[in-house]
């Protein structure tokens, strides 16, 4: 690709051959009005707003669809261009309702903005305007289709980016309507992005409808707490209330998209019943108290149990989505007390290779490198459920490359996967062993021991294909999915995956649970390692041991083990049986009301500062967007005070940045421990099982409590619905939704939804 020189409004610019005028102008910061053009979507050239005046062209041409040519002179503001732009603006406005005062998009509307520059004060149009019936496309997106200007961004997003053709245009001419044809809920897990894409108020966010005006809100940069990508978000809040969450552009991580749970899970902290004051259970009754009483009580009880039962009978479980600072202080607190029973690996079942694990599990390559892969092997990964935005990235790679998958259970991908091997969890190992065997066959220099180990295994044609694709392509990788780590033989799976990567030369990646598994490893929220992977001379209990064998006292850092861990039944028994459970949580409702003894109200994810380390090892810090509700405090502050009350050393941090700096210093001083060395086993294993994977909106305490997510199609499909529906945030049903339409959306859950609404208003 060569470059050419073009001139836009007299400014000489270098441009890559084949690029469009609008891209060059955008790069140079010169504004050309547009509606249908979006840099992440294909060029439709249908709005005609970007018409510009190009030398040697008698007509004004669309800047979005006109490739640059050497010596081309473009005028974006000549009389010809201006007349063309104004005429298109007039056409766009004649059938637009101009109901800006009651439109949620008002103040951040592209049509409004452009109309200011290119519209007329008075309309020449005196005929009746077009009216379009609104469509009900589910609990996330509100439609006002009369406002639609038919730019088709939402349609193209579905077709091109998501790979689900949910929105489309029916009808011709003025009768053209955007919709789903047969009225239904949008099912995509990234559907909310069409709200941002829509340049007008046709598609707006249903949960935040009519809540605030764009200019009233302040914005705070945040990081999404849901998956290991560290999706960048922008939290919009007004007068201390979070109103909505929108994407923050980060080309390396989330481009311009966020998933629906990134966007709507804030409802859990704004609308669900929040714990606003510390509470102590006395004689089976919850009593509100002040912080001092609560924390003193916690210290006394912990000290008592330490005395009577021994410190090894105390343990802490931490949410994998807790911040680095929270993880670090929790483990510091426990280790200060003398206990090494600390874990954040709640869904893990097989801990046998924990000593061989790397500094932190993650991807050896950048997220954006995924779209350039020519061959990708997914090992038990369900990207759409676990890391939806990674699925969008990988989908891009299928334009030129190949994605292959070996998985257990049902996995639906939004891109072509071939071979797509689906086996029972017990056959997963055999599948991977087959791939290794195929690589050994194809490979020349393999150690005799390894060859010996796989000598009896005959690879299938699919395994042969996978092996050779990974080996032949320079740009190849494999990704071990989040749920592979829940497999009872996950250590063997990781070793096999690593061996496939080593033999084929493809890049290796592991996808992890929660937003901060990497942070958990680095902070030392592990029973066998201190922070920055320093070997601990004592190995405490892991999640499995803590929950199955039972402890006398638990500190639960923002986690509900009965829902978050793979040990639901054991967790309930152990927690109920234990003498003392401290629950640090932002929420007032949950099964913990039965088993906990003290509730410490902590800040929700929008209310605390902290750091998430993503799957690529990127440290992303954020500040609190709003103040925590009531007496709730950021967890790191609670832990700091608790540490001081327990008279432990090193709890004098005055800011989360200080804690971050302390961890970072330790992290940067260790280098040797970064690479994991999985030991070759003496023999090959087989079989194994996997707990049923959690549903998309049941993976963490936030999504469980977000009403709109639970009402969405995936939310309705939660297989643990009966266990979580009483948690759902229910204080504000979307206003336009009557119970009747709820029933339309899903007959099965509507009753329980209203029932839980009833409950909360009684409480």
């Amino acid at each position: 690709m060569g470059t050419v020189t073009i001139e836009i409004d007299g400014v000489s610019l270098e441009a890559e051959t084949g690029s469009m005028i609008i891209e060059i102008a955008d790069d140079a910061g010169m504004h050309i009005p547009r509606f249908c053009y979006h840099k992440k979507l294909s060029v439709a050239a249908n709005c005609r707003m970007c018409l510009v005046d190009v030398s040697n062209s008698p007509k004004a041409v669309p800047a979005c669809a006109t490739p640059v040519a050497d010596g081309m002179k473009v005028l974006t503001n000549s009389t010809k261009a201006r007349i063309a732009q104004k005429s298109v603006m007039e056409f766009l406005l004649i059938n637009h309702p101009l109901d800006c005062p009651i439109c949620d998009q008002g103040g951040e509307c592209e049509l409004q903005d452009v109309a200011l520059g290119f519209g007329n004060d008075v309309s020449r149009f005196t005929e009746g305007k077009r009216v379009v019936q609104d469509k009900n496309i589910g609990p996330l997106i509100e439609t006002d289709m009369t406002r639609c200007i038919h730019c088709t961004r939402c349609v193209r997003f579905g077709t091109e980016v998501v790979g689900m053709r949910e929105m489309g245009a029916t009808g011709r001419g003025e009768h053209m309507e955007i919709g789903t044809y047969i009225e239904k809920s949008i099912e995509s897990e990234v559907s909310g992005n069409i709200i941002d894409l829509c340049p007008v108020g046709a598609l707006t966010a249903k949960p935040s409808r009519y809540k605030a005006r764009a200019w009233e809100m302040q914005s705070t940069a945040g990081v999404s707490p849901h998956d290991c990508l560290g999706t960048n978000i922008e939290i919009h809040h007004r007068r201390g209330e979070v109103i909505r969450v929108v994407p923050r552009e980060n080309e390396k991580i989330n481009e311009v998209w966020i998933s629906d749970r990134d966007r709507f899970s804030y409802q859990s902290v704004t609308d669900s019943e929040r714990l606003t004051q510390p509470k102590i259970k006395k004689d089976g009754q919850w009593q509100t108290c002040d912080w001092e009483t609560a924390l003193t009580h916690v210290c006394d009880q912990l000290n008592n149990i330490k005395q009577s039962e021994g410190v090894e009978n105390i343990g802490a479980l931490i949410s994998p989505s807790a911040t680095l600072e929270e993880m670090y202080l929790t483990q510091k607190l426990m280790r200060g007390l003398g206990s090494h029973n600390i874990d954040h690996r709640l869904r893990q079942v097989d801990f046998s290779s924990q000593f061989e694990a790397p500094m932190f599990p993650g991807m050896e390559f950048d997220i954006d490198a995924l779209e350039d892969m020519d061959a990708t092997l997914l090992i038990d990964a369900d990207l759409r459920r676990e890391q939806p935005l990674l699925a969008l990235r990988l989908r891009k790679s299928t334009r030129h490359g190949r994605v292959m998958s070996v998985h257990s259970g049902e996995v639906e991908n939004n891109f072509k996967v071939s071979p797509n091997v689906s086996v029972p969890a017990s056959d997963l190992l055999a599948q991977l062993q087959g791939i290794v065997a195929a690589l050994i066959e194809q490979h020349k220099e393999v150690s005799a021991e390894l060859t010996e180990l796989f000598v009896d295994i005959k690879p299938t044609p699919d395994q042969q294909t996978i092996a050779s694709e990974l080996r032949i392509n320079d740009n190849a990788c494999l990704l071990v999915g989040q749920s592979a780590l829940e497999h009872s033989k996950s250590s063997h799976i990781r070793w096999l995956a690593k061996t496939i990567s080593d033999l084929s030369g493809c890049a290796f990646g592991e996808l992890t649970a929660g937003a901060n598994t990497a942070g958990g490893y680095i902070a030392g929220a592990l029973p066998h390692r201190l922070s920055a992977a320093e070997e601990s001379n004592i190995c405490g209990w892991n999640t499995q041991q803590m929950l199955q064998k039972g402890l006398s006292a638990y500190l639960l850092m923002n986690t509900e083990p009965e829902l978050d861990s793979s040990y639901r039944d054991a967790a309930r028994v152990s927690l109920l049986k234990s003498k003392f459970v401290v629950m640090m949580t932002p929420f007032a409702k949950g099964e913990f009301l039965d088993y906990a003894d003290v509730l410490l109200p902590i800040a929700g994810f929008t209310e605390t500062s902290g750091t998430f380390i993503n799957v690529c090892g990127e440290w992303q810090s954020f500040t609190a967007a709003v103040k925590a509700k009531g007496e709730a405090r950021p967890a790191w502050k609670v832990l700091r005070v608790l540490g001081n009350l327990l008279e432990l050393d090193g709890f004098d941090y005055v800011s989360s940045q200080e804690i971050n700096a302390a961890v970072k210093e330790r992290f940067e001083s260790t280098t040797d421990a970064r690479v994991g060395h999985f030991q070759r086993p003496d023999s090959l294993e087989s079989g194994g099982e996997k707990p049923r994977p959690l549903s998309m909106y049941d993976m963490d305490s936030l999504t469980r409590r977000s009403l709109c997510l639970q009402m969405s199609v995936q939310g309705q499909d939660n297989w643990r619905r009966d266990q979580i529906e009483h948690l759902v945030a229910s204080q504000s049903l979307p206003e336009t939704e009557s119970p009747d339409s709820l029933i339309n959306l899903s007959a099965s859950s509507a009753e329980s939804e209203t029932a839980s609404l009833q409950e909360s208003s009684d409480a």
Binding site: A44, A45, M49, L51, P58, F91, R124, A169, G173, E174
Partner: protein, 428 residues
Amino acid sequence: MANEVCFRTMHLDEPWTLEAYKSVGGYKVWRDILKNKTPANDIIEQLKTSALRGRGGAGFPTGLKWSFMPRGMPGQKYVVCNSDEGEPGTFKDRDILRFNPHQLIEGMAIGGYVMTATVGYNYMRGEFYEPFARMEQALKEAYDEGLLGKNILDSGIDFDLYNHMGAGAYICGEETALIESLEGKKGQPRFKPPFPANYGVFGRPTNVNNTESYASVPVILQHGGQWFLDLGIPNNGGTKIFSVSGHIKQPGNYEVAMGMPFKDLLQQCGGMRGDKPLKAVIPGGSSSPVLPASVMMDITMDYDAIGKAGSMVGSGAVMVIEEGTCMVELAARTAHFYYEESCGQCTPCREGTGWMSRVLHRILDGEGKIEDLDNLQDIADNIMGRTICALGDAAAMPMGGFLKHYKHEFEHMIRTGRRWVDDQQNAA
């Protein structure tokens, strides 16, 4: 000098049969090409000499269009026949399909050979039940005769032809919308470039021509390009089928030489119905601007002359209008058609056609305002040249014609609420 090209079987009984077509020399050219492997460039040269221009409406030189196809490019290429004859007033392709389908098949096969396309599609509009049946029958005959298929007559040349029926949208006559529709999508034009010659059906190089264009090819090659050119006048070669309709005695298709004076054509059609005086003519389908009688009676029927007069040959749909016809009503009817048929993709056409139609109907309803006329002209100008395809232009152009020649009728209706033609008649 009539019925020499596309209608050359018309004088026979059952002119649509293979026998009838063979009796006038049909498939000779195709057999010849198969036998001698005539160089493609020679065929293109003949077409260029003939000055055959696209008969669908745009009038683009066919030989030149064929030369644009990347013939050397490997991979599948397509030839597509646009039989989605949707332009109001046009009905010539229907009669080619009904009465001389084999000539179209031969023309497309030759096109496939020249452009190294081994698959052809004949896209017919949704209303063409009878022509579709005729085409299917003709295809069967051609296949049975071994003139289509794989390794045709042991020549090593493949050509498969398929008939495809659209669903009746006017926009699908636009070549890229036709391609989208053929691919099974909503018929909406694509932005050009890339042109179909580079990115057409299923993303492959594709040549789209009108039925009459393809059907003219065998005859041109049989008699030579020069012969065809000499049928007409320089730069306007050959004959053209004019679909003459309106207030005349014998409406119908007339295949006549290019450059025939309009008044001769009118005479062939038996003259005006009821011998009323001629008021105006829409010479090339509803998209072409209307021309008043005074202009029409002096011009010849060819691209250059009609273009100079401010209109176009278009698809050759000659709509003859007698004195006493209300031009406001005609304008409103025309505008309504484009309002209904705009695909809705791009803004100026989607919004502008509806606006024009509404204003015109308001004028008809006696609610017109004098500034409406300036607005109408303005709307038309604002649509013109600002859309993805030519439908916007097609909607805008006639409006200019009506306002240019018959503004007084509009003004009269706005001022009085009555039709100008009625008041003229009453005064007389």
